[in-house]
Assembly symmetry: C2
Homo-oligomer: 236 residues x 2
Amino acid sequence: MAGKKVLIVYAHQELRSLNGSLKKVAEDELGKQGCIVTVSDLYAMDFEPRATRNDITASSSPGALSNPKLFNYGVEAYEAYKKRSLTSDIVDEQKKVQEADLVIFQFPLYWFSVPAILKGWMDRVLCQGFAFDFPEFYDSGFLKDKLALLSITTGSTAEMYTKTGVSGDFRYLLWPLQHGTLHFCGFKVLDPQISFAPEFASEEERKGMVVSWAQRLKNIWKEEPIPCTPPWYFGQ
Amino acid sequence: MAGKKVLIVYAHQELRSLNGSLKKVAEDELGKQGCIVTVSDLYAMDFEPRATRNDITASSSPGALSNPKLFNYGVEAYEAYKKRSLTSDIVDEQKKVQEADLVIFQFPLYWFSVPAILKGWMDRVLCQGFAFDFPEFYDSGFLKDKLALLSITTGSTAEMYTKTGVSGDFRYLLWPLQHGTLHFCGFKVLDPQISFAPEFASEEERKGMVVSWAQRLKNIWKEEPIPCTPPWYFGQ
């Protein structure tokens, strides 16, 4: 939809991968619609995943930390956010999120979750004060006017991710990401886009995965968010 | 139990934190039992969380990568494991895991999961060939003769983590870690040790959390693993 802003947070090492193709086709399709698309290519940026003292700059003298003798990352990041003394890589990402109407996370599933580089983006960028506060969380989270969508490629086949399969229903593993992270910050979560087992797929099937993602994006602005409740994730 | 080997993978920035105290008391108590305890202090090691080409060394010439034109981390790490050309920081951790009878993960909950630095340890250390292969996964995983235990501190109170609480039953969020990661590699998983909301607790209550962890460790070798099935995690 013309004028809408989209941030793609992309976590794959190889642009020629299926993840790279899914990112590219999203840029193209959303661009055609007149959307303004920004990409954070985390590996290309060598994005820092570790949450450390380095995230709080010394710009706010005297002394950057509120309690240097007992370092508490969450507390210090919250204080630094309010004092505008977070490092610039975090501030840059927060600006991109702030401007976005939709954030798409494009990544391969690593251990039923996001790769560490993307976990680090979540740990560091979505800090208290910026993404949530107390009691501004879940439906009242600060990012409540935004949409979020996980676009995931998997190593295992769809058959393994069923209620009776060895890896359980796919929704089970989405809970910490979609509910515990995105919904906690207020995001309205759209259905995930799951491209199963591209390594076992033919070239034609892989092309089909890219095409179906592009097709879906044509009507993405009409989609309703999922009901982010335990029955949706775990109900019979 | 005398002679048993324990690896503690510790992911907190501050030794004077509750996480630091829980790590310390585990070292002390297990040491008293005659166990040989090794600690991987991830922040102190500045452990690399990002899974990149750098993990495959050039020692196996000609050319370290099996397909440099289309980089696939999982495939390359598997090949490098077999050719013994993974970087030394990964090899060092794999040796520690290989020798351990019990691996304890000590960390604060970040976004319903492990901090990115610990996610990176899982992404990089537990590679195919070392921790699992196909069809050697879940009950047949290569680490099937070992125990694993998550010792977690939380920001939220226990009341928020109930079936009817806003964050759902705590077991829901353990699924990707305990089943999707540890069980996938074959680990027998012991009940998690959860220290709820130390930031809202009194000094006395925090000391109680440390004492109860030490008490539990006295009989840790007699514990039975959890039944790692969907009904245990999601059943009514």
